[in-house]
Symmetry: C2
Subunit: 393 residues, 2 copies
């Protein structure tokens, strides 16, 4: 097995009132001019934005603001942020929000120290060599961007959604108060739970050697989310549920659940979903939920026993000895769980009827115009990807 890397330098402060530390954390990082980046006006209306600004100013740090990040964040707004950074000499990007805002902040931080167009990093024309410092106040638990090396941005022209992964964009700090997720609507909570689970499931379903330690951690994380997810849906202000889900979201995507495995994950479903939400702007977690079981049924024969272990350790399904049947039961249990969260398990559940042309366009985009396969558990060509999109229709 190759040398495994693990690098999670983000200083996490977690719990009620964690956001109060924002001024002190920025001061410690030596910030002098901060861009506060956020999405919905909810951040302003609830008073959080004003509170944060005054905490920062109390440390004699200058504040600029840029709101308006949308789900599937756009490169156009990122470019605006980069301009602000260069115009004002901003030296720190503070995200207030969830994955979209953090990903957008990471992109601004790449662009702020780059002479070309920031989209170069997402279209793989260039590789980042540095980044500005970033931090966040987390108000949603799903994407895990607060500890991850990943940033996903959508290009307004053509709806291409692309990721860029480097250690440079790991946040300096993440202030995580689970109370901020109380107001998350049920649909978004459901999508979040799927997203969190999928970050670990993408890493769990690899073909080849895995570290037993990591398998045990991955399934313990998934069990925890399966336990607390429905509680959060039923009781949105249950602190314990929200706290367990929030911390799971961070750990699920920081690399821990792939440590020492033969590969960093499969990621076919994520890439297929990126095209889907690029085209239809559906919630990322909901898109994953609509695709996963079709992917599972298409690929499980590559190594049914992996699905059997998954079913046993996550859903408590005792193996019967018939691996194929047990694998299918595990997939069905997962699908059933996603459905119980109010999530789509087919693309048609969104009210979308995919045409043949759209199936082709999705598959073409997902394979970079046929230039790459997707997946590691099973390597999928353009035609196989199209089969899965069709099965998920």
């Amino acid at each position: 097995m190759a040398v495994a890397g693990y690098y999670t330098p983000t200083h996490v402060l977690f719990g009620k009132g964690a956001e109060e530390e924002v001024g002190r954390e920025l001061k410690k990082e030596g910030a002098t001019k901060v861009l506060v980046h956020y999405g919905s006006e909810r951040i302003r209306k609830t008073g959080l934005l004003d509170k944060v600004i005054s905490l920062i100013k109390a440390e004699e740090i200058e504040v600029f603001t840029l709101g308006g990040v949308v789900p599937n964040p756009r490169v156009s707004l990122v470019r605006k942020g980069v301009e602000m950074v260069k115009e004002h000499g901003i030296d720190f990007i503070l995200a207030i929000g969830g994955g979209s805002v953090i990903d957008s902040s990471k992109a601004i931080a790449y662009g702020g120290v780059y002479d070309g167009d920031v989209w170069d990093f997402y279209s793989q024309k260039a590789v980042p060599k540095a980044s500005m410092k970033t931090g966040c106040i987390l108000t949603m638990a799903a994407a895990g961007s607060e500890m991850s090396d990943s940033s996903v941005i959508t290009n307004d022209e053509g709806g291409l959604k692309r990721g860029c992964n480097t250690d440079y964009c790991r946040l300096r700090f993440a202030l995580c108060n689970p109370e901020f997720t109380y107001s998350l609507p049920a649909y978004q909570t459901g999508a979040a739970i799927v997203d969190i689970m999928m970050h670990t499931m993408e890493r769990y379903f690899v073909k080849g050697e895995t570290l037993s330690f990591t398998d045990n951690m991955a399934t313990a994380l998934l069990r925890t989310v399966v336990q607390w997810g429905p509680v959060a849906l039923k009781e949105p202000e249950n602190y314990e549920a929200r706290a367990n889900i929030m911390w799971a979201s961070s750990i699920s995507h920081n690399g821990f659940t792939a440590f020492g495995n033969c590969a960093r994950g499969d990621w076919a479903c994520h890439q297929m979903e990126h095209e889907l939400s690029g085209m239809f702007d559906v919630a990322h977690g909901a898109g994953l939920s609509a695709i996963w079981a079709s992917w599972g049924r298409y690929v499980y024969k590559e190594e049914p026993s992996r699905f059997v272990s998954f079913g046993r350790d996550v859903f408590g399904l005792a193996p019967t000895g018939d691996d194929d049947a047990d694998a299918l039961r595990a997939i069905a249990a997962t699908e059933e769980f996603f459905r119980s969260l109010g999530m789509p398990v087919r693309i048609s559940d969104f009210g979308i009827s995919l045409t043949e042309e759209q199936l082709e366009e999705l598959s073409v985009k997902a394979t970079f115009f046929g230039k790459r396969t997707l997946g590691q558990f099973m390597k999928l060509s353009h035609d196989e990807i199209k089969d899965i999109y069709r099965a998920a229709k």
Copy 2:
């Protein structure tokens, strides 16, 4: 619950050949003069020291060496290291070894940027405000010092063993090759397994709220070690066993298994063991093994259900409904597991017959001459500690 902190900035490279990265990692850290600190002559004899020195020199970094670290590392050698740092303008401490060498390196790194005597930090006369940069090549898996904020040093005069915990001493990098632990003798492997488990058990046994996520992670970690520990004892060159144990050692002590809990842990057994090994120079893990079950039987009534969960989730003991009996079964199962590793479960198993005077001396030292209680699960006074030492006799 208070705001929880999590900070594990150490860049981990893990697997066969991880040590090859040492020169590049030091270069990245900007090191120009490195003190290579190690313990036994085995490091030299196996050729590892020469290999590391030439990898460092290849990056045009100057190398100084200081060997001779012993288990329960001495402040006298630390002081020598601090002198070398100040004399030669050394800017990085590289440990090659396990917990003792890393702890000694951390102490040198504290002392290297301090005007007073480094023991001040361990005797609580002063609090560190900074540290030099440190890294390690890990050759033993037990103490978890490679990712922890902790350093424990013994004062040659009086046998006082004291810890100092701050985030300043978190290593910059840890190069972890499980193959280096193949040659660890059975006794040390057994002691290591207990030490690893105890770092999580000390955190698990707290009285009050815990995060369900963290409970699940803690018990998954313990189950993994319970599975692979005996394999490593039987087949010392089983890579899978050694790898699982090595990674467990790092995660068990980096703070992860206490995240979001009401307290950072109990730590009474650790503090009692520190006095024991300070007085008799026994292996730390073996000392913990000799004490733990006596501690468990003394304190379990504070909250038997915690021991019941522990027995269920770590050893698969189905609860019967009689919490007291189940708690005692869990303690007995743990004791039996330690014994199966060839570890002492009483102090007399070391061949030590504690006298009344020694019992008193241990209890006096453990309580800082009666100035503190030990433990969180149950707060223990001098007399109670003496009872536990006596029960463990």
